[in-house]
């Protein structure tokens, strides 16, 4: 089994980001909230990326920030996919009023712009990581629901699903054994995209001050803290932006590769 170059590149960088996130306390040269230098010191051998607006080491902030951002985004994505796809498949399999009820409810949520809805909810609730994950996961689940339902509706009309119904199979078998394996390809493609949207969403929330709260670091927060430096030609705010872009590209390179493997019908999933 040969792995294409693009997938190798994607795997390498995705792996690097996730390892850095998991082992942040071991890798980071300084503490997350430790003030170690002057305001916006330029890059040097002791501070590879320089220091931030109040003299904390930017590299350490980036590594800890990556941990928060990637953790929140992953958890929200897992939540949205589990919830969205199970409900979407159920709606397609059950049809009739179950489908109508769920679909109209999702339409209702989707009619309100996600960011505004999130801002409203977060301004009422206490902003903790759990609440953030739940809000992001639930809002994103509506998008996944739409996709999962659309894919599953095409699959439920296939003769093999009818054969399973005639056999007397319950909904669990039909959803997880008949539909899920066949719906995996579009869902995996969507997973890569949704994860990146989640990264952007949490970064946006933090930038607006309703996401991850200081002193905890996250990439959106780092942009916010250092944005005023841009006026003086300090590039600190751009570094999280590069990190987000790099993560987005590498995750999707991996998703593309997984996609090409899952589309093979001859047992290519190995």
């Amino acid at each position: 089994m040969r792995i294409p170059i693009s997938a190798l590149v994607g795997l390498f960088f995705t792996g690097a980001f996730f390892l850095a996130a998991i082992f942040a306390p071991l890798i980071a040269p300084y503490g997350m909230a430790e003030i170690v230098g002057g305001v916006w010191d330029p890059a040097s051998s002791t501070h590879w990326l320089g220091t931030d607006a109040i003299g904390r080491d930017l590299l350490s902030r980036m590594i800890y920030g990556g941990q928060t951002t990637i953790f929140v985004a992953s958890a929200a994505t897992v939540l949205s996919f589990t919830l969205g796809s199970v409900l979407g498949f159920s709606a397609a399999v059950a049809g009739a009023w179950v489908d109508q009820g769920l679909s109209r409810m999702v339409d209702l949520v989707m009619a309100i712009p996600a960011l505004i809805l999130a801002l409203v909810i977060l301004s009422v609730l206490p902003v903790t990581l759990t609440v953030l994950i739940l809000v992001m996961g639930l809002l994103d689940a509506t998008r996944v629901f739409r996709l999962a339902r659309a894919v599953a509706v095409d699959i439920t009309v296939m003769d093999y699903v009818e054969a399973a119904r005639l056999r007397g199979e319950g909904w669990a078998w039909i959803i997880f054994r008949e539909i899920l394996p066949n719906a995996l390809s579009p869902l995996v493609a969507e997973l890569g995209l949704r994860f990146i949207f989640a990264v952007l969403f949490i970064s946006t929330l933090s930038f607006l001050g309703l996401g991850v709260q200081p002193p905890l670091a996250d990439w959106g927060g780092i942009v916010k803290e250092n944005s005023s430096g841009l006026v003086y030609g300090i590039p600190a705010a751009l570094i999280p932006a590069f990190a987000i872009a790099a993560l987005a590209i590498s995750v999707n390179l991996v998703a593309d590769w997984v996609l090409s493997r899952t589309t093979s019908l001859k047992g290519g999933r190995g």
């Binding site: 005639l166 056999r167 007397g168 054994r177 394996p181 066949n182 093979s264 019908l265 001859k266």
Partner: protein, 544 residues
């Protein structure tokens, strides 16, 4: 010897195949095939799927579908080798000298444009004639092809005419620019038998009147025998036999051709009566939200261990009947009794034994099996689900079932995509059999298969019936299949049972009008059959 229009010499066609996980390799689709068509003659190309018939047909306009390459030989049309001419000359030739009639007319017409504009498009594009002249010619062709109201027919849109009419409209489209050669690619395969005979007669007459030469591609030897002067039998891209139609039909030289000619000659003597396993009593059904009864007061009995064939054309309600029996569509009125008990109308209310004892085999084996499950999972699931078999016991039973359907050991871990069409249908049969059913509903199980493969499936079904005593409800539009397998026959037309009884009674005169039409429309493997039938119908019509 008439003047040669098309001469194909030593044609070789290749394509590149990309098996997953393996390096790409070249496959030979057509290997060293030579044929010639004289002006005004019809050549039949016949063979099973994958034999290369369509590929050869399209090569006569130097066209290869996606990735197909013409790699050897010469194709001489009107005296020049069209493999050597440039793209501009090819464009001038396609639609002008050679035209094409596709299998699915419904998919080949643009649903948003009136038929007339589509029929004369090639004429205008190639500046063969002006609009007025082209429209006049189209109307003339509509008339010749027996379409209703030829003057106004062109004003209609594709969805406003029937499948058979659309196929004839496409024939008119092909004939309109006065081509030298028309390629007919399975033009009647998707049609009902009663429609097929009309289209066939129309095509034959149009070919005769316009003096055009034709390539007629089909898998049905009986059909091609009615229209072709010569026949080329193909298998796996190679020539099997090439000769005059009469010789191929009456004195086939090669074993493969002999098998094709004698196909569907299974003799099946109907069984004597037995107690009924399935009784359908006064069943009426309609689909939700419609006001039209698809089934009207159906009453049928199926004796245990026997076969009831339900025959009819598309729209006759025969597949709906299967949905009612399985419980997918609860009947509006009427009762279904099965093995001495009454079946609940809806699927959800039936017991697990009810479900186990009625199994179903579908027309398209491709969509009837989950492409993500191995053969072992597909056959093993009913064993696990109904009988709780696990591990070694399950594997042993799967192997027994695979042996019963005459498939060997290596198949248990394969995916459906790695099976041939006939093997897929066999696996579906094994899945049904795994439940130890009393009744198997077979919905057009052989109509998507090549004749020889279909024959094998029918023989297997008969053998399994003898061994297991299972009853079949056999839904089909193909009367040859019915003769081969049925003990009882029900002829359905527009939701009603027109004729019902033991096979010999149903297939013996006196007939009602519809059954007579249906029976006389099944192509027979002899020359002149088409003329005979049409002559007979004309006489009957004149007699009235």
């Amino acid at each position: 010897m008439a003047e040669m229009l098309l001469e194909i010499r030593n044609l070789r066609i290749e394509a590149t195949s990309y098996p997953p996980g393996e390096p790409p390799r070249d496959v030979v689709l057509v290997d060293d095939v030579s044929v010639s068509v004289a002006k005004g003659r019809v050549l039949g190309l016949i063979g099973e799927s994958g034999a290369g018939k369509s590929t050869i047909g399209l090569s006569s306009m130097a066209y290869g579908r996606g990735g197909v390459r013409l790699t050897g030989g010469t194709i001489t049309l009107n005296g020049r080798d069209i493999r050597l001419v440039d793209a501009r000359a090819l464009r001038a030739l396609r639609g002008r000298e050679v035209t094409y009639v596709a299998q699915s007319a419904a998919a080949a017409f643009n649903p948003a444009i009136q038929l007339m504009d589509q029929v004369i498009e090639t004429c205008l594009l190639h500046k063969v004639m002006g609009r007025a002249e082209a429209e006049a010619r189209a109307v003339m062709l509509f008339g010749k092809l027996g379409l209703p109201n030829p003057e106004s027919f062109g004003k209609r849109y594709p969805h406003q005419v029937s499948g058979g009419q659309l196929q004839r409209a496409m024939t008119a489209m092909a004939l309109c620019p006065k081509p030298d050669l028309v390629i007919f690619d399975e033009p009647t395969t998707a049609l009902d038998v009663t429609t097929q005979i009309e289209v066939l007669a129309a095509i034959k007459e149009a070919i005769h009147d316009t003096g055009v030469a034709a390539l007629y591609i089909t898998h049905d030897l009986a059909v091609v025998a009615q229209v072709a002067d010569d026949i080329l039998v193909l298998r796996h891209g190679k020539r099997v036999e090439y000769g005059a139609t009469e010789q191929i039909i009456t004195a086939p030289g090669e074993p493969y051709t002999q098998a094709l000619v004698s196909v569907r000659s299974i003799e099946h003597v109907e069984k004597t009566d037995a107690p009924a396993v399935l009784q359908i009593q006064n069943v009426t059904a309609r689909y939700q939200g419609t006001k039209f009864d698809v089934l009207k007061n159906i009453t049928l009995d199926l004796p245990a261990g026997q076969t009831l064939a339900v025959v009819g054309e598309s729209g006759s309600g025969k597949s709906t009947l299967a949905r009612v029996i399985t419980g997918l569509l609860p009947p509006g009125q009427g009762r279904i009794r099965f093995a001495g008990r009454e079946l609940a109308p809806a699927l959800a209310a039936r017991t697990r034994d009810d479900l186990r004892e009625v199994q179903m085999i579908y027309q398209m084996a491709d969509t009837a099996m989950n492409p993500r499950q191995t053969v072992g999972t597909i056959i093993g699931r009913p064993l696990e689900f109904y009988f709780g078999l696990k591990g070694e016991a399950k594997r042993k039973r799967i192997q027994e079932l695979l042996d019963q359907i005459e498939m060997g050991k290596g198949f248990i871990d394969r995916y459906p995509a790695e099976l041939s069409g006939g093997q897929k249908q066999r696996v579906c049969i094994a899945r049904a059999l795994a439940a130890k059913p009393k009744l198997i509903i077979c919905d057009e199980v052989t109509s998507a298969l090549d004749p020889l493969v279909a024959d094998g499936i029918l023989k297997l079904l008969l053998a399994l019936q003898a061994a297991e005593g299972v009853a079949y409800l056999f839904i089909t539009h193909d009367l040859a299949t019915v003769r081969a397998i049925a003990d009882r026959i029900a002829v359905m037309y527009r939701g009603e049972v027109r004729r019902y009884g033991a096979k010999t009674d149903v297939l013996a005169p006196p007939f009602d009008d519809y059954t007579a039409l249906l029976l006389s429309s099944v192509p027979e493997m002899k020359m002149g059959w088409l003329e005979g039938v049409l002559e007979g119908r004309r006489m009957a019509a004149a007699g009235n």
